[in-house]
Amino acid sequence: MEIAEALRADAARLLAEGRAKLVIGYQARGPHRAPAFISDPAKVNVLVYDNLCKQNLAVYLRKPEVRLKGPVAIVATPAVMRSLMVLAAESQLTEATVLAVGKDAYHGVLDLAGAAALLKEKYADLAPEPELLEALAKLNALSPEARARFWTGQFAKCTRCYACRAACPGCYCQRCIVEKNVPQWVSAAAAQHGNYAWHVIRAFHQAGRCTLCGACEAACPQGIPLMLLNLALSEEVAKRFGEKPGYDPAAKPVVGSWKPDDDQGFIR
């Protein structure tokens, strides 16, 4: 509980001093954790922090109703801070005030540069969960036909609610490719090839940008294992281009840039 107390104290202070007009953090809603939006220093007691606080709050930074409130301070886990780095690198953020929390530590109030330094110093080796690595290894070991059958079953569950898209801080297009109908590139129906195309395109648009925060899979109401796609791509990005997104707020985009000696062994 110490972390929560420290968070509340700093949140109240930031609001009272006018350094933030809104603090975004987590609150308890029964057994769930929900985002808290606090403008009044007297209300900071709703803030909590525990291992149920998994939602990536960085999504709220681009919400117009939130931006209208004024300068924002955000309770940020390493996953959230990494998302902020990607957003900064893509010119979606120029500055941020972060109440930085780690696994069992509170690192205080930081700005964007401070958060970047903290990530490099203490959270440079964030690795995916062993269960996820094992699940991908199992998937890789299947034949292509078996993999295709696996995904047919998984994508059949998809209702195209786009919770995965909405929960991802990296998905911020005003008009998503699935919402374009001149021409209709991706079938809007929650079936077959449309579901396949949606999930492949969504994962691909995160290539080199995904920090493996898990918000998409956690958001999916149908339990589709989206992290398998993200991890496969993330490993390929690391292997081929040596990049790990979410640490450098001035990083060049992975898919948007190139090196003359990029591997082309697969090209005849």
């Binding site: 809603r29 029964g30 057994p31 769930h32 954790r33 929900a34 985002p35 939006f37 939602q55 999504v59 709220y60 919400k63 117009p64 109703e65 939130v66 569950k157 209702t159 195209r160 609610c161 786009y162 919770a163 898209r165 909405a166 929960a167 919402e179 209709q184 079938s187 809007a188 129906a189 929650a190 079936a191 918000a215 956690a218 958001a219 109401p221 149908q222 339990g223």
Partner: protein
């Protein structure tokens, strides 16, 4: 009364399948419980509310409503047969059954005894064919979680609205009583045959679901507070996806899309959600619901105000799926509670 052992639900499903029913039931699938077509060997799990409802078996996620072929200059429509197999929705939730009665008001007006003042005549053949062919058998809830709120919206864990038969847990959870509630239910009981024994059992008490807010007060408040700043405050956490609308057993908005190749075209009816910004986007670029606050207002008002005005009932059965599944931690019951409190504060 007709009785079966609590661990024999799969046998009941098997008997119904053998009698020609397509059985849909809540089945454990990894971490989720999902209502899906039951296959032999699948374990029916009634321990929690499933992630989806029976809505998709009566109102599919996408459905062909017209079909055309193009051969040379010849453009010809082709007949579309509605897929309406005889179905038993087994061990589903009472809130799901009640939701189908609400959807009847939209897709089959005039059946629920509510006169539609503007001459709404359209009967949805696809819905009605499936509704006719489906026997709904909810299981009375003996447990509820913090997101359930059926009792706040005129429902109850043992309500029988929309049910053709009902399963009641009995003798401390060791048995089920299967009680038919009409001709479809009686036909199902007959089809179950020897799986059901004639016997006595004492029904277990239904779950206690505390009332969380005053729905009438919410309806009243909505009527006069379209422009209230409260809408913006209660909807800040909404990230604008369709998880709530699609898992909701009463949400029924849809989009019509044509998909074509060079030789054939289908017209599809797809689920749609007012939560997405695209929902009300005009081709001019204007959007009358330009922010999530106005879209949340629409969600609440459709269920608690407009539907009451037009159809005489709330369009929410308190199943709580939206609250369990919302990635942004929103809950319509929580929003209604805040509205109720705001109203009380204003009245003082």
């Amino acid at each position: 009364m007709k009785v079966l052992d609590a661990n024999k639900l799969s046998d009941l499903a098997a008997a119904l399948a053998a009698a020609g029913y397509r059985v849909v039931a809540p089945v454990r699938d990894g971490r989720e419980i999902r209502v899906q077509e039951w296959k032999p060997g699948a374990a029916i799990d009634t321990s929690a509310v499933p992630v989806n409802s029976i809505k998709e078996f009566l109102f599919p996620r996408c459905e062909v409503i017209a079909r055309y072929r193009l051969e040379g200059d010849d453009f010809s429509p082709e007949p579309v047969a509605t897929d309406a197999p005889k179905t038993a929705a087994l061990a589903v939730r009472p809130c799901d059954a009640a939701a189908m009665v609400i959807l009847d008001k939209v897709f089959n007006p005039g059946t629920a005894g509510v006169p539609w003042p503007d001459g709404w005549e359209y009967k949805d053949d696809a819905w009605n064919a499936r509704r006719e062919a489906t026997t709904i058998v909810p299981v009375v809830c003996t447990a509820a979680d913090q997101d359930c709120f059926c009792t706040s919206v005129g429902g109850a864990p043992d309500a029988t609205a929309g049910a053709d038969a009902v399963l009641r847990s009995a003798d401390g959870g060791r048995k089920f009583i299967l009680q038919p509630l009409g001709p479809k239910g009686q036909a199902l009981v007959a089809a179950a045959g020897a799986v059901l024994a004639e016997g006595d059992a004492k029904a277990d008490p239904p779950a206690q679901v505390p009332v969380r807010f005053d729905a009438k007060a919410v309806t009243e408040w909505c009527g006069g507070n379209f422009e209230s700043p409260l809408w913006r405050e209660v909807s800040l956490a909404c990230i604008g996806c369709g998880a709530c609308a699609y898992c909701c057993p009463t949400c029924h908005c849809f989009d019509i899309q044509d998909e074509a190749t060079r030789t054939e075209s289908v017209r599809l009816r797809n689920w749609d959600t007012c939560g997405l910004s695209l929902f009300t986007l005009h081709s001019s670029g204007h959007n009358p619901r330009p922010d999530q606050a106005s879209r949340w207002r629409q969600r609440v008002m459709h269920k608690f105000s407009y539907f009451v005005e037009k159809f005489g009932s709330l369009a929410c059965t308190g199943c709580g799926r939206c609250a369990r599944l919302c990635p942004g931690g929103m809950a319509i019951a929580q929003v209604c509670k805040e509205i109720d409190e705001a109203r009380k504060a204003a009245v003082k």
